[in-house]
Structures are given as structure tokens and as C-alpha cells.
Symmetry: C2
Subunit: 139 residues, 2 copies
């Protein structure tokens, strides 16, 4: 790990992978029409790929277009005194392998929205980075 000024610690790729694997809810940045958007998704990590379900809509379209998507997962303590954030960027694609689709639907929380009829989108991170935020008090 590399300590930066301002209470920022740059995470190693291993730490990023570990934190990515520990999360359940992330957010994807996509475009809806000409406008940028950030939308929450529940996800699972399988073989280093971020997998989430989506209905018809902007997230599916991004995957059909094989758009480059930013995916972020973070966690902060209740008092927001410390936390971490991991950012993954990669090309999105629609998963067609029935085994991966089934595995995703079985493991993915998807607390809202039905698994039935949902599409599975995968992002294989080409770029992975993460930061841990320390409180000024402990920095």
C-alpha cells in the first residue's frame, strides 16, 4: 500500500479484488441518451468478472453496445470517519453462457426485481483501482 497525503491510501490490485469480492451492491456509470447516469446494481464476482442482472433499458443497451462502463463499490463507517472505494472500468457485454447466467441468478441478491427474464451483464475490469480513506484524526 502507498500512503498519500490527505488521508488517502492507494490500494493494491489484490486489495481491490478482495474488496470487490466482499461487496454486494455497486454502482455503474452509463449514458442515458446524451446524459450521464449512475445507477445502483447488486452484483456477484465470478472469475474476476463483475456480473449483474438488468431488465430492458439503459444498462442492457450499454452491454449490447459493448460500452466501456465504470463500476464502483464502496463502504463507509456509520460516522463516515473512514471507508474505501474500488473503481473498475471495462467493456460491458451481455452474458449468453447458460451456466454463468444460472450461477449469477442463483448467487446474486437482486433484492428488487425478479430474476425471471432478467439479462446478465458482465464487466471484465481492464482497469482496477481503489482507495482507502482514513480519518484526519488517525492520519
Amino acid at each position: 500500500m502507498t500512503l498519500m497525503d490527505d488521508g488517502l491510501e492507494i490500494l493494491t490490485e489484490d486489495e481491490c479484488q478482495e474488496l470487490l469480492a466482499s461487496g454486494r451492491m455497486g454502482r455503474v456509470a452509463i449514458s442515458i441518451g446524451a446524459l450521464p447516469a449512475v445507477l445502483p446494481v447488486s452484483y456477484v464476482l465470478v472469475d474476476g468478472e463483475i456480473l449483474f442482472e438488468t431488465g430492458e433499458g439503459a444498462k442492457l443497451r450499454a452491454a449490447l453496445d459493448r460500452a466501456v462502463i465504470a463500476f464502483e463499490v464502496d463502504s463507509f463507517t456509520a460516522d463516515h470517519a473512514s471507508g474505501w472505494s474500488v473503481l473498475a472500468v471495462g467493456v460491458a457485454r451481455v452474458v449468453t453462457d447458460p451456466g454463468v447466467v444460472a450461477q449469477t441468478k442463483e448467487r446474486n441478491l437482486r433484492p428488487f426485481g425478479s430474476h425471471e427474464g432478467s439479462h446478465v451483464v458482465a464487466i471484465r475490469p481492464d482497469f482496477l483501482s481503489g482507495r482507502r480513506f482514513l480519518t484526519r484524526r488517525s492520519a
Copy 2:
């Protein structure tokens, strides 16, 4: 409020404003070079504007460029069974008014990073939308 299929409830603008005002940590989608990125920020809401602090870097550059930025804040229950997400999109700008800068630095948590020397960026939402996610159990 409008009930949608799939356990999604579309929030009214008033509900979005209220939830936006209740949050402390949000995320902004910006570009770093040619790549999209999502980065967490601690923020305050003043007169309907989202205000956050930043050092030199991609977030400041976006504001100097008056880029259209997506800002998202969400909250989920610990079991991820329900939650909400509010998305605001607007032009970013660097705040130069000393009164607003001082008010932001006083109210903003900024748990990581110093207030000293930070720049204040404002987003006035041109577009505001929100969704509440209900569990399948209660849907």
C-alpha cells in the same frame, strides 16, 4: 409516487430533494482521460445545489470545464432488502463566492482530506430522479 413492476417505486421530485438533503456521501461520474470513473464525495445541499470539496484533479477539471456530471446518492438496509437511489445530473462549476465556500467547508464532513486548500464544486441539478427499491417479499 408511482408503483412500477419489479418492486420499483418512482419517487417524486419532492421525495428526491428530501433524500438528497438527508445524505452525506454521494458519488460523481466523471471522465478521467478517455475513461469513465465513479468517485465518492462527501457533500452538502445548499439552496438545492450539491456542494462538495475536491483537491486538484479530475473532479476539479470537470468543474473547470463545466462538464455535465451525474451525482448519485443511495441507501440500502443492511440486508439489502430495500433501499433508495437518487440521481442528479447538472453542469458542474467551481464555486468562487467566499460565503458559499466557507459555508460548505463548515458544514461538509470531508472525513478524509483537509478543508484547507480544497476547492468547492457545485452541481445544480437540471435533472433529478429517484427510485425506491422494495423487497420481492413485500412487493
